[in-house]
Amino acid sequence: MSTGEDVLFWVLAPLMVLAALGLLFARKAVHAAVCVVFVMISLAVMYIAQDAPFLGVVQIVVYTGAVMMLFLFVLMLVGVDASDSLVETIRGQRWIGVLLGLGLGAVLGGVVAQATFPPAVGLASPDEENPVTLARVLFGDYVFAMEVVGVLLVTAAVAALVLTHRRSLEPRVGQKETADAKVAALPSGGRLTPLPAPGVYARNNAMDTPALDASGRPIPESVSRILRIRGQERSATAILAAEHEVLADHEPTRHRDRRDDDAHPDRVTRTTDEEA
C-alpha cells in the first residue's frame, strides 16, 4: 500500500463515516439520500484504488446513477416533506437500537482486530486488464449464476410494473368518447369547438383579457372560468380606450383620420355601454 493510498483512505474514510451518520441522523429523507450518494461515490473511489476499476465504474453507474436516483424519484412521489415521526411505538426502542448498533460494531471490530490477515497479494497484473479478468471468471465459473441473475432482474422489472399498476375504476375516456359526449351535449347548449383563446391587444396579452368576436363584442368564454368567477376579468373596452388614448397622444393627425373614417372604436364603446 502506497502513501498516496494512505492519504486517500484517511481523507475519504472519516468523510464517509460522517455521511453515513448523516443518514442515521438527518431529519429529512432527501438529506439522507444525498449523504448515501456521497458514501457510494467515495466507495467507488476506494474500489478503483483497490485494483477494482470495473467495480468502481459499475458502482457509480448502478448505485449513484440508478439506485439512488430511483430513491429520489420515490421520495418526490411520496412527498419530500414526509419526515419521521418521533413518537416511540415500542418503549425504549431508540436506546435498544443504539445499544444493538454499538454492540454490532464492537463485535465486528473485535473480530477484525483479533484476526491476522495475510499480507496483500494485489490484483494488478501487467498482462490482463481487470475487466478481462472479471469476465473470465464471470462467464467461466459463474455462468449459471449470471443467467439466474438475468432472470432475477427481469422478474424484478415485471414485479415493479405489477406492484405499481393501478386498475382504473371507470372505463377509459378516449378521443371518441369525448367527441360523442360533446355532440350529445349540443342541444343543451354545449359547444363542439374548443373555447376561444384570450384576446391579444396592442398593449395587452394576458389570460384575463377577453377576445373580441367578429362584430367587436367581447367573448366572456375566452377568459378562464375561474377568473370570471373571482371577478378578475379585465374589460376589453377599457383596454381599447387606453390604447386609443395612447394613439391620440402620439399620432394626433392619424388618429383623427381614423376616427372620421372608421366607426369601429365607437361601436365597441357603445356595446359595452349597453351591457353595463
Binding site: 442515521l24 476506494m46 477494482a52 458502482q59 448502478v62 412521489l77 419521521d84 415493479a160
Partner: protein, 99 residues
C-alpha cells in the same frame, strides 16, 4: 497501514446501516440503511479479493450489486403501493396484519 483499515471501515459502515434500519421509521430511509449494509459488505469483498489476489471476491461483489438493484426496484414499488393505499411511508403505520 494495512488493508485491515478497509475491513474496519466496512464494519463501521455496516453497523451504521444496521442502526439506521433499527432506529428510523421512514421506510425509504430504512431501505437506504439496507443499501449501506450491502455496500459495506461489497467493500469487504473487494478488500479481501485484493488481499488474496483472487478475482472471485470482485465477481461476488458484482452479483451483490445486481441483486441489490433488483431488491431496490421491488422494495420501492412496494413502498409506493403502500403509500397509495395508506398515504404514509412510515413503517409503523403498515400494521394491518397485527390485529
Amino acid at each position: 497501514m494495512e488493508l485491515t483499515h478497509y475491513v474496519v471501515l466496512s464494519c463501521i459502515l455496516f453497523a451504521i446501516g444496521a442502526t439506521t434500519v433499527l432506529l428510523r421509521r421512514n421506510a425509504i430511509i430504512v431501505f437506504m440503511g439496507v443499501e449501506l449494509m450491502l455496500n459495506a459488505a461489497n467493500l469487504a469483498f473487494v478488500t479481501f479479493a485484493r488481499m488474496h489476489g483472487d478475482p472471485h471476491g470482485q465477481v461476488i461483489a458484482f452479483f451483490v450489486m445486481t441483486v441489490a438493484a433488483a431488491e431496490v426496484v421491488v422494495g420501492l414499488a412496494i413502498i409506493v403501493a403502500i403509500f397509495r393505499t395508506r398515504r404514509t411511508a412510515s413503517v409503523d403505520d403498515a400494521n394491518l396484519l397485527k390485529n
